[in-house]
Structure formats: structure tokens, C-alpha cells
């Protein structure tokens, strides 16, 4: 980025998002410090992934590599995946089970809480070599993060100032998490989608209820999610967390889309095998679709009986890794397991209603090159941040920028 562009937030406030925010290396570095390593709860995974003593997984908090473990006392720990000695990755596997963790470089060892327990040849060999008596290699030990769990979801923060999780997301969003994480879960598998865009473009996309039925034509073609159907948007915490929900009917009779002449109703298409969409109301509230986010990088999804968590990981200014983990409940029978498999067609990199998101965020990243001084217009549903019954709104997108700007002091 040339330094010729102004780096001041547009005077309109939350209704304008300047394009330099998705392009600037300095902004990216500041986000790592102020957001990911600041007072936020970062999603690490499901407790179901770390069921037994000794189980570990590696993941990231922003750019920072971390190890997550279940220790001998059954507690979850998270610490930097960085050796106190030379800074090498401590743990090279994605997941596994261990009694201790040893750095491969010089065999320094750590317990499952991330404490340095052994320095190879610390006292030398036969009185030769070794470290001075007063050496303090522990001073550079991997940092420990504070871990919290909420309904089987695991989050961590480096900051002492991060509020308790439920206050952080707000009571209403917390209730919407409880709704989906209502009983013990079973992991069904995972994959990653590499998005050619800045992480914020994806996080906005998930919060943007306005785009859902306009970009994802599969739903509207088969009349599954049209904005005239009942639902709502809840904005929680400092604005950066949200839940949107829809009560779908498969035979919506409204004609708003037809009258507006929109591309989303090209009409006449029918599924030959509609049993893919046969769903059960496992929550007993008629809500067929709920999308929920927690700032800065967590998504919880219920699309009919297709349940998943998504972790949004920044991989540089213009690249994002979206880590999907699908789950069902431990109580699922074979019929429900098969149903979740079929509905998995709706999501992921080939998802009937999600494959466009990877491309669309990339279109913005590419479209705004050369327009750092311009801004996107975020005025659907007004100019404020508030929960809404209508989903023709960008209220939760404005909520994201409200919390983001507070952390970034922008």
C-alpha cells in the first residue's frame, strides 16, 4: 500500500467501511496485537475433540500458533506452540495424545500445562558445558492463554481484561448457543476452505443476512429462505457477536422477489431427490436456520439438521483459512446420521448454499484494488446497531465494525 491514501475512518461512521481496512499490512499487524492477542475470546475447537487426558490439538489464535491440551486433572490448557529455547514449534502434529510435549530441535520438554520441565544437558556432561547456574530459560516460556468453555465450545484469550464469555457475547446470543449445543456432540469430520480474501470480508459475509437469499440462489430457487419468511437478527456483546435465525417454510406464497424482478427466482426448477432436504425439528422451535458468530472468528451453524462450527483464521492480508468441523449428537441414530450426511451437501466448499461465499469475498478483495480511499455502503436497515425482526438489514455487519473499531482504536 502506498502511503498516499488517508488512513482515517470515513466521517459517516458505521455505514461506511473503507477499503484500506482489507488491504493494509499495518492494519493486519495491529489486528494481531489488538484483537487476537487482545481482549477477545478466540475459538479453539470443540471439547469433544479433546475428550481424554493427554489429548491435544494444535491451532491458531490469529497468526499465533497454539497447543490445546487436556491435562491429568482433566482441565483444558492453551499455550503458545513455541519453545522457550529457540522459538521452534513445540508440537508438529494436528492432534494426538501425549504425556508430555518435547521440542524436536533440542529436546526441551513441557508438561501438558505448558510448563518447561526439562532442558537437555542443562548441567552439561561430566562437568563440561551446560547452562550457567543462574540462567533463566523459563523467562521465555510459551505464553499461557486463559481458557474458557461454554456448552462444549473452547475459547482462549491472552488478556486478563476479557470479560466472562457470557457477558462478552450477551445473554441472548449465549441462549442461542445453548440452543444448538444442547447435548453432548460427536465430531463428524472436518475440512478447510482457503478463501482469497481478508478475514473480515468473510466475517461480514456470515453476518450479512441481506445477501443470503440473493447470492445463494439454491435456497430461493427452491423457496427455502426468502426474506419475507419469519426470523430475526440479534446483535450481542459489543456488537461483534450475533445470531440470525429463520423459520422456513418450503411453500412460501409471497411474490416480493418476483415483483422486484430478481434473478433469484428464475423459476421452474425442482429437485429430483428432495429427500436431501427432509429435516426434523430437533430443537422444537420451528427455527430451520440459525447462524451465529462470536467476535473475532467463530461461527456456529444450524442449517436444518446440518450442524457445524467454523473457525476463521487470518493467513495474511488477502488470505483466510476457514476451518469447518461438522458435528451431530452422541445420541444420533443411523437415520439421523444419514440425514446429516445428505444435508452436508448444503455447506462447505461444495455447499449448495455456501460455495458462493468463498468466491464473493474474493470478488470484493479483487474489486477494491485501486480503491483504498473508497468505502462500502452499509446502510440496509438504517445506520445503527440493534436487533431486528427484518433480515433486510446490515445491522450485525455494523455491529462488527463497532466492536472492531473499539479494539483497534480507529
Amino acid at each position: 500500500m502506498a502511503a498516499t491514501e488517508p488512513r482515517v475512518w470515513p466521517s459517516e461512521g458505521l455505514t461506511r467501511v473503507p477499503y484500506w481496512i482489507y488491504q493494509d499490512e499495518n492494519v493486519y499487524a495491529r489486528e494481531q496485537e489488538r484483537i487476537y492477542r487482545g481482549a477477545t475470546w478466540n475459538f479453539l475447537g470443540l471439547e469433544a475433540e479433546l475428550r481424554d487426558v493427554g489429548d491435544f490439538k494444535t491451532t491458531f489464535v490469529g497468526d499465533m500458533p497454539v497447543v490445546v491440551t487436556r491435562d491429568e486433572r482433566g482441565a483444558l490448557n492453551c499455550f503458545e506452540n513455541r519453545c522457550a529455547h529457540r522459538g521452534a514449534l513445540l508440537c508438529l502434529k494436528d492432534r494426538g495424545s501425549a504425556k508430555e510435549i518435547a521440542c524436536v530441535y533440542h529436546n526441551w520438554t513441557y508438561d501438558l500445562q505448558g510448563n518447561l520441565t526439562g532442558v537437555a544437558f542443562r548441567r552439561g556432561i561430566k562437568g563440561q558445558g551446560g547452562m550457567p547456574e543462574d540462567a533463566q530459560p523459563e523467562s521465555q516460556a510459551p505464553r499461557k492463554l486463559r481458557v474458557t468453555t461454554f456448552c462444549g465450545l473452547v475459547f482462549a484469550t491472552l488478556s486478563e481484561a476479557t470479560p466472562p464469555f457470557e457477558r462478552y457475547v450477551g445473554a441472548e446470543v449465549a441462549a442461542r448457543i445453548r440452543r444448538v449445543m444442547k447435548e453432548p456432540v460427536r465430531v463428524l469430520g472436518g475440512y478447510s476452505q482457503i478463501l482469497p480474501s481478508n478475514w473480515k470480508l468473510y466475517f461480514e459475509n456470515v453476518k450479512d443476512t441481506y445477501h443470503a437469499s440473493l447470492l445463494h440462489l439454491f435456497f430461493s430457487t427452491f423457496r427455502l429462505n426468502r426474506l419475507e419468511q419469519k426470523g430475526g437478527v440479534i446483535v450481542g456483546g459489543e456488537g461483534g457477536s450475533h445470531a440470525s435465525f429463520t423459520m422456513m417454510k418450503t411453500d412460501s406464497s409471497g411474490d416480493e422477489y418476483e415483483r422486484a424482478g430478481m434473478r433469484s427466482v428464475s423459476g421452474g426448477y425442482r429437485l429430483e431427490a428432495p429427500q436431501m432436504l427432509d429435516s426434523v425439528d430437533e430443537f422444537g422451535d420451528g427455527v430451520t436456520l440459525q447462524i451465529l458468530t462470536v467476535f473475532p472468528g467463530f461461527v456456529l451453524q444450524q442449517i436444518m439438521n446440518c450442524l457445524a462450527v467454523r473457525q476463521v483464521l487470518p493467513k495474511g492480508v488477502g488470505r483466510t483459512e476457514l476451518v469447518w468441523t461438522a458435528f451431530g449428537y452422541a445420541s444420533d441414530d443411523d437415520e439421523m446420521a444419514e440425514r446429516r450426511m445428505k444435508q452436508a451437501n448444503l455447506v462447505g466448499p461444495s455447499g449448495y448454499i455456501s460455495l458462493e461465499d468463498g468466491a464473493a469475498t474474493g470478488f470484493v478483495q479483487r474489486g477494491t484494488q485501486g480503491a483504498a480511499g473508497h468505502a462500502s455502503v452499509v446502510e440496509m436497515g438504517g445506520r445503527g446497531v440493534a436487533s431486528s425482526e427484518s433480515r433486510v438489514t446490515e445491522t450485525s455487519v455494523r455491529g462488527l465494525w463497532q466492536q472492531y473499531r473499539k479494539h483497534m482504536e480507529l
Partner: protein, 156 residues
């Protein structure tokens, strides 16, 4: 070695990838039996016995729905694939059924000219043979990588 069976299977695989690469997607379901199963998964899920698919169909009708959505509903930039299939191992199960394992690589060519190695992996096929016709009863596409670049629209 059953040379005739080997050639039948290799011919089926060759016709299958040419149909995909030539954008003859409407022909794709015809390579499967009426109740044929198709599943794309990752090596990681496959080895851990985790059922999550990237694409899953258990009938030709579901495959036709996928084509119909790609043609009329889903939005993605113009792109083509070039498949290379190799190391085809064939094993006869009974008079009408064979199992085949082969390797594939898929180059994705975007309309912008950008060309990347989009996917590599294995086809694990169960094939029914009836005289001159051979179809997939089951085709499991096991991707080597757990990550997919941007989106996976056209089948593999």
C-alpha cells in the same frame, strides 16, 4: 491379469474424466448405476473413519440435482478442469463386479488464465459390468489435502 477387465475399467475412467473436462456435466450421472453412490471426502476424514462428505449422493437423481444446481442456481466463476488419472489397479469381485483404485490429479484453469494444481487423490471405485456397459456402483473420491482452494463446484 484380466486384460479385458483392465481395459474396460480404464476406458470407463477415461470417458468419465473427459466428460467432466469437456463440460458435458449432464452426462456425468449416466456413469453411475441408478442407485450409485458418489462421495468426495478428504484423506484425513477417510482415515479417521469420519463420515463428513464434501459432496454426497446416493442416486443418479441426486447427481442430476447437483448438475441442475451448477447450471441454474450456484454462482461461480468460469473455470475448467483437466484430470489426469493413473496407476489403475483393478480387482474382480465376481462375474459382474470389480473394484478399482486409481490416482488422479486435477488442474483447475480459471477464465483469467490462472492454472493451479487444484486437487490430487485417489478414486476408490466399485464398478458393475454388464456386457459392454460399465457403471460406478460406488465412487469415493479421497482428496489428499484437507484444504480446498475457494470452492469445489465441478465434480471430480
Amino acid at each position: 491379469m484380466d486384460i479385458e477387465l483392465q481395459l474396460t475399467v480404464e476406458n470407463l475412467l477415461a470417458r468419465y474424466v473427459h466428460a467432466l473436462d469437456d463440460d458435458r456435466l449432464e452426462e456425468w450421472p449416466e456413469f453411475f448405476a441408478e442407485k450409485g453412490r458418489y462421495r468426495i471426502t478428504t484423506a484425513e476424514n477417510f482415515e479417521r473413519n469420519l463420515p463428513l462428505p464434501i459432496i454426497y449422493a446416493d442416486s443418479r437423481a441426486m447427481l442430476r440435482d447437483r448438475v441442475s444446481a451448477l447450471r441454474h442456481a450456484n454462482i461461480y466463476e468460469a473455470q475448467r478442469y483437466r484430470h489426469a488419472v493413473s496407476s489403475v489397479l483393478v480387482e474382480r469381485i465376481d462375474a459382474r463386479t470389480a473394484r478399482a483404485t486409481s490416482n488422479f490429479q486435477v488442474v483447475r484453469i480459471m477464465h483469467t488464465g490462472e492454472s493451479i494444481l487444484f486437487a490430487s487423490g485417489r478414486y476408490l471405485d466399485r464398478i458393475c459390468i454388464d456386457g459392454a456397459s460399465a457403471r460406478f456402483e460406488e465412487k469415493i473420491v479421497v482428496l489428499d489435502s484437507r484444504a480446498v482452494d475457494t470452492l469445489l463446484a465441478i465434480p471430480i
